[in-house]
Amino acid sequence: VVIIGNVQQRRFNVVYDVGNLKIGFGANGCS
C-alpha cells in the first residue's frame, strides 16, 4: 500500500470524521 507518514502530516490539522467517512486537511494548524 501507499502510506502517508507523519513527516508529511506536520503542521496540518488532520480531521478524521469517521462517522461521515471523510478525512480533512487544513494547513498551518500548529507551529
Partner: protein, 404 residues
Amino acid sequence: ARGLAGEHHVIDVKSLLSTSSNCSLPDKGASPSKLKVVHRHGPCSSLPRQNKPSHLQLLRQDQSRVDSIHCRSAAAAAPVGGSLSAKLPANTGTSLGSGNYIVTIGLGTPKKSFSVVFDTGSDLTWTQCLPCDSCYTQNDPLYDPTQSSTFTNISCNSNYCTQLDQSSCSSTSTCLYQVQYGDNSQTQGSLIQDTLTFSSDSIPNFRFGCGHDNSGLFGKVDGLLGLGREPASIVSQTDQLYGKVFSYCLPSTSSAAGYLELGSTAAGVQYTPMLTNQNLPSFYFLNLVAISVGGQKLALSPTVFSNPGTLLDSGTVISRLPPTAYAALRSSFRRYMTNYPTAPALSILDTCYDFTNYQTVKVPSIALLFGGGVTANLDFKGILYVASISQACLAFAGNNDAGD
C-alpha cells in the same frame, strides 16, 4: 495544482535545526477534550532522553512498521494454503515503528497521569499495570487498579472481550488480552475498565488493557493510545460522546507542541472521502490521485495510487510511494535541486543535500492531491528530513514492489 501549491519554499538554513523550543499547547480554542502532542524524543517530552535513537535506528524501525503493514495486507489477501502465506511469519501484527508522538492521559480515581504513544494504526489502549509479571522500566509509576475507586474487571463472556483479536479467559472468568506487534513487541494482561481523563473530560468505564507482561520497543513510554477504526479503540468507545470525530496537528519540529482533540473539527479544512480496506481494518484509507512538484503535476495515472490503496498513518514516519511514483517524484525534485551539492543517502532516503555553505535554500513545493479536489500543499518540514545541515533528505521513499 500550480495555482494551489505555489512553486517553492525559501528557507533560512539556520532555522532547520533550531534549538529554541515552545512546548505550550497551541492555544487556538482550548477545549476540554484537547491534549498536547509532543515528539517522544524532543525537549517537550517528559520522557528521559538518554535513549534517543539515531536517525538510522529510527528509519530502520520505520521500515519495520511499513514491512509489517504490507505483510498484514498480503497475509489477509492470500488464499488459505496459498504459497504466499507459507512465506509469511506467523506474527503479522503491525510494528510499532518509532512511535514518534506521545500524549498524556489520566487513568483511575483519583487520576494518575501516563505518557502514551498515540497510534491511528492500532486499536487497543493499554498501559503497564500492577501486578507486573514482566514490565520494562517506564517513566511514571505503574498504574495500580487496586488504588482506583472506579476500576472494574471485564468478564470473559462480555462482548468487549470476544471482540478482541486475541482474548482468553482467566481462572476467575475475567478477560485476558494479548497484542503482538509486528516487531515482536508484545503486551498481555487483563482487559479492564476505569475512568479515562482526556484533557479535562472524564470518560467513565473506558476499556483498556492492564498490561502485566510487556516487552519490546516501547522505550520508556507508559503504554499506547489506540485510535484505529475497530470497536476497541477510543474513537469507537466514545462514539456517543464525540461522534467518532477526532483531529490532530503534529508540530513541525520536536521542539514544538501540537494537539490531539476528540470530537471537534477544525476551521479551514478541506475534506476527502475516507475509505476502508477489510485486509487492514484498523487503518484509515483515502484516495490519493496525484502529486505535484514545483506546481507541476507528475505524469502518473491515478491507478498507480488507487490499485494498491493509500492509507494515512500517524505511526509511520516517511511516506512510501509505489516505485514508479517515487521515481517520478525524485526525478522532478532533483531537477529543481541541481544547484546544491548532494550528500550521502540516509538509510531509505536516497536523495540528500548538503546545505553547509548556504544561508537560505530554495526547495520546490510538493502537494498531495486527493479525491474530491483536495490539495494538501506540504509544509517545508514535510518535504525534507533534516538529519543535519550537511544531510537534508527528500522525506519520501519507494516501496519495493508496485503491488505493496
